[in-house]
């Protein structure tokens, strides 16, 4: 489960950022506008102290020192009153935007998660077969986390600092263009350093993330095989190999953090140097009596008060530049994450052009369909609307499946099934036998349209399955797979998954049929036993019994068993088999089984080899034929 490699493509940063903002505005347009206004107010209030101080010095203190306190008392109170008023207002704004951001961040993340999950559930099986589970998972964990960081911290901080920077920039320009140029020169230098140091840090940060992935993969592989390590007394070698991986991770982490840590003091001290430079230039301008150039036009030479005020502004200016540059790392990470999330959201969902639907039907003894029923009748029919004349015809669901000359490949130029034809009459049991990769599972993937065929036809009760709505097609097919996949919840919940409105009695009956009832009742909490982590508290055999019970409660007319009993011991399997045979009376069953004993009583056995059916017939016929099946049966060939 190696983690996805992280990379950020140049040029796509702004595009992704724009997309992200659009996505956010889609959900929170007015709130975000209000937040930005509030941040702006707070930011301006934050830098206003130097302005107040300048006014205070000029209008209160200087005259006060000359004329005495009483003379300026009124002005002082007014100014302080205005200050307090502005601060109170800014405080309200700050309170508003901070709280709103909390709500927006979490709400937006919820939308992102839901959008991802909604889209994921509708993706074709192909997507899950071609992407590792670890990669898909990391959209939900790492990438969403990076996004949270961006939204809750980096974006507000950047807006905050940008407002401050713009405001300061204007005030500086109003004060002196020459000195502003010096500041801008210094800022350019700061940005250069940020790019250099920050770029290095980002580079090693990416390396570090990839090292973490490698370490995780290595540790996972070794710990999965920990018992083998113990049995072979291989601990020392395992330690040596681990040390190598661990040291690499250390080196990259060390470097990433070093550059990250260096950035702050470097920017801060460039700020100090800049302060000195501005002081020198300001002093020169003042002493030489150079006419001042400002936004408001030409003026007299700078006064000392103006220089001091400017120095204060430049200090705050560089502080804010520093603040923005500190966000670089998390922005880079978050953009990479956002890019991956968008890529995931852009995946095309499964398409479905089917229009034939499955309905409950009332059917008389002669098999004639009387009418559609809104409630469960135990009988089903295909509802087939005809576009041409608007009429609707019904056809009973029987479970007759035909494959005619089917070709299929998972990738277009590599065909894995060639000319497969087979006919399963309702109630028949059809078995597939063949080596791993012969195409057994592929055939079942085609019947329920996990994948679509390239050529040929698949008919279900005579209807081309492309015309059947996918959900209805799948509802009519029960699947029991080798990988059991249970869900967090009680055992009862897991059985009921097959039919959500099943009563407890129905579930217990299904469990009895699958021979799972015995072991369930022996558990301390019986049917209420909580399953966690894909049923890690059960044995693989027990999980298979549960997944059979789950299929049994769904009671579908066609059942596909793909190595469904592979982990059940032969004695229990025999009992399950008997139960299944009772259940499957009158239904069509497709069986893939490793143990030939489980399929001997099939109506037809298909022997597959490299995507072709090379032998077909029942057990006796195939034995008599003395072909591949005969060799498999006598143990001359190895299965799998």
């Amino acid at each position: 489960m190696a983690r996805h490699k992280i990379e950020v493509k140049r040029g796509s940063v702004m595009k992704t950022l724009g997309k992200l903002l659009k996505y956010m505005f889609h959900y929170y347009r007015w709130q975000l506008i209000l937040v930005i206004c509030c941040i702006a107010v707070t930011a301006v209030a934050g830098i206003s102290s130097s302005i107040f101080l300048e006014i205070l010095t000029d209008d209160v203190i200087t005259p006060g020192l000359e004329q005495g306190f009483e003379a300026v008392k009124g002005t002082l109170y007014t100014i302080i009153g205005i200050m307090a008023g502005i601060y109170v207002f800014a405080l309200i704004c700050s309170f508003t935007y901070n709280r709103m951001m909390a709500v927006i961040t979490q709400g937006f993340l919820k939308h992102v998660r839901e959008d991802m999950f909604n889209n994921m559930e509708k993706l074709p099986i192909r997507y899950f077969d071609t992407n590792t589970h670890g990669d898909i998972m990391s959209y939900y964990t790492n990438d969403v986390d990076a996004l949270r960081q961006l939204i809750s911290q980096s974006i507000p901080q950047t807006v905050f600092s940008s407002v401050a920077i713009i405001t300061l920039m204007i005030s500086m320009l109003k004060s002196s263009v020459y000195m502003t140029l010096v500041v801008l020169f210094g800022v350019a230098f700061m940005l250069l350093v940020t790019k250099l140091v920050g770029g290095k840090s980002a580079k090693y940060f990416v390396k570090q993330q990839n090292s973490v992935g490698t370490t995780e993969g290595y540790v996972e592989e070794m710990l999965t095989g920990q018992k083998v390590i113990k049995v072979f007394c291989h601990e020392e070698a395992a330690k040596r190999d681990f040390d190598k991986v661990n040291d690499e991770l250390f080196v990259n982490t060390d470097k990433a953090n070093k550059y990250g840590n260096i950035l702050m003091p470097t920017i801060g001290n460039i700020g100090h140097v800049l302060f000195v430079l501005v002081a020198i230039v300001g002093g020169l301008l003042m002493l030489e009596g150079v006419p001042n150039v400002s936004l408001t036009g030409l003026g007299d030479a700078l006064t000392i008060g103006a220089v001091v005020a400017f120095l204060n502004m430049s200090r705050q200016f560089t502080l804010n530049i520093g603040q923005v540059s500190m966000q670089v790392n998390s922005v880079v990470m978050a953009i990479a994450g956002a890019e991956r999330i968008f890529g995931f959201l852009d995946q095309k969902p499964e398409t479905d052009e089917g229009y034939v639907t499955l309905v409950n039907a009332v059917i008389d003894d002669d098999g004639k369909i009387l009418r559609e029923s809104p409630t469960r009748t135990g009988r089903w029919a295909w509802r087939h609307p005809h576009k041409a004349d608007g009429s609707v015809t019904y056809q009973e669901l029987k479970g007759d499946i035909q494959l005619v000359d089917v070709d299929f490949g998972y990738v277009p130029d590599k065909i894995v099934l060639h000319d497969v034809s087979l006919y399963a009459k309702p109630g028949q049991k059809i078995a597939f036998v063949g080596a791993t990769g012969a195409g057994k599972t592929t055939i079942t993937n085609l019947i329920n349209r996990f994948y679509d065929i390239a050529d040929g036809k698949i008919r279900y009760d005579g209807i081309n399955i492309n015309k059947i709505r996918k959900s209805d097609l799948r509802r009519s097919l029960g699947m029991v797979l080798q990988d059991t996949n249970l869900f967090t919840g009680t055992i009862m919940d897991n059985i009921r998954y097959g039919k959500l409105d099943a009563s407890d009695d129905e579930c217990v009956a299904a469990a009895k049929l699958a021979n799972a009832h015995d072991f369930i009742t022996r558990l301390p909490d019986g049917y209420n036993t909580m399953l966690t982590g894909d049923g890690s508290n059960l044995s693989q055999g027990q999980k298979q019994l549960l997944s059979i019970a789950r299929a049994a409660v769904a009671n579908p007319p066609v059942l596909i068993l793909d190595e469904a009993t592979s982990s059940i011991d032969t004695r229990t399997e025999y009992l399950v088999q008997k139960g299944m045979d009772a259940l499957m009376q009158g239904r069509t069953v497709f069986v893939i089984a490793h143990r030939l004993s489980t399929i001997q009583n099939s109506d037809a056995i298909m022997v597959l080899d490299h995507g072709r059916i090379i032998e077909r017939g029942n057990h006796e016929q195939l034995i008599a034929q003395k072909g591949v099946y005969y060799q498999l049966y006598t143990g001359a060939f190895e299965l799998e």
Partner: protein
Amino acid sequence: MLKTLAKSIRQYKRESILSPVLVTLEVLLECMIPLYMSTMLKDITDEPTMSNILIYGAILLVMAAFSLLFGILAGKYAATASAGFARNLRHDIYYKIQDFSFANIDKFSTSSLVTRMTTDVTNIQMAYMMIVRVAFRSPVMMIVSLAMTYSINWQMGVIFTILVPILGAGLFIIFKKVDPIFNKVFKKYDALNESVQENIKGIRVVKSYVREDYEIDKFDKAAENVRADFTRGEKIIALNNPLMQFCMWTAITMICFVGSMIVMQSAEEALNRSDLMILIVYAAQTLSSLTMLSMIMVMISIAKTSADRVVEVLKEESTLTDPENPVYEVPNGDVEFDGVDFKYSEKADRRALKEIDLKVKSGQTIGILGGTGSSKTSLVNLIPRLYDVSKGSVKVGGIDVRDYDIEALRNQVAVVLQKNVLFSGTIKENLRWGNPDATDEELVRVCKLAQADEFIQGFPDKYDTYIEQGGSNVSGGQKQRLCIARALLKKPKILILDDSTSAVDTKTDALIRKAFREEIPDTTKFIIAQRVSSVEDADQIVIMDNGTIAAVGTHDELLAHNKIYQEVYYSQNKVGATAQTLIEQRKEDGNGKA
């Protein structure tokens, strides 16, 4: 807990100490620079000459240079200290796991151990870096700034002294309120991610039962639940900023108001104009360092949960220990179970094995049959002392397994585990796990014994074929035979195959057993199997049922008298008998019916 963790700092002690020292120096300079700047501004206001500016500027540059130097070094050491600490922690956890016994391994799931070694260690690392860099920085900065303030004007100092505890208490209350909320919500968040994982793994089940909308509905509810709880916590956290700003702005207003009155009333004696600016800077420094401290508190709180989980592994003691004077020589392959009871944990009610008595002579082949959960694996796991018995004793070569040096014992008792694993690497590398010094000829010899040589020769790269992680590029039967070969390479006195030929065809299975009989006749062989044909020709067949030995005997004896054996035998329809006899038999059955 801290003591256990601190042991992992080791060679990074120097960096861990140097970094805060340098940070302290940096902070001192950082606090002096604004004061110095203000002095500079005042002096050049009073005496605006170029030389004055240049002298002040030069000194300021020197201070900035030192501040930069200290800052860079402190950052560098902090990075190394924390990355090194994390490296040692991972090292210690991994080494600890290597010392785990099977019982220890059972206690922790693989994924939880992986999380502990990655996410948890990273959390600790970040907290450690924060502690090294900021835990000293903030208090020093606060104290120095306060002291500076007092040195400028005591009334101003008093204002700060009142505001600091207000902010401190506010931040602390917020932290206390939020901490339990987050502790809870993180568990829900984990559960949410767990459900995503379930859906990814079980997508075929979801789709074949057409439960997409049901799952989406379930997920949306859980996501909403997580959102609501997170929002509740974040809303409280959102008070942090306004609270800080409230204190900051109160300080500024007070400085402006009280400050300018003092300036005017004392005619710039007690306080002068340019000091006001510097006081604001100190206010910012004092209060922001408090905020930093509260951030550390949050980080430590997150890291604490992680630290608990890491310490749990570090403190786990192996349940198996070597005896004081261990026996290093295993004399022969005799095995004896004497009144053995076995439980997987002391607290468990259920005995996995009950009153087992069994004697096996060196060189014998023992077949073991039984249903799922009948404790076949538990029985054989006691022989190489993967677990210790709860009662009675297991003897190998006449000596209690607890008296052997564990490694010496396991080198003579080779187990091919049921859940077997090949590692990414070439076939040769995988085989040499059995014996690192084995020659290529030896590898070929054991592979021939395990009937693996033929298919290996069929690969383009033969013995250098690369095995993917988990052996995903070889078939189940091939994997099993490679695992058997790997075990044979140890030249063990006892060989245990735990359902190790289930994916191998019956003919090859028979060839493997034939090779065992002929090539390693002195090795005691235990074979657990589902297939009767795999144990038919054993010297003794042990029938396990619910943790007890139900019967012991040869194939003929058991077939004649044992009901379980008969059932298993007939349920398998005699797979492995020749087809001819079967067909004839069926014909006879058919004739009989007719």
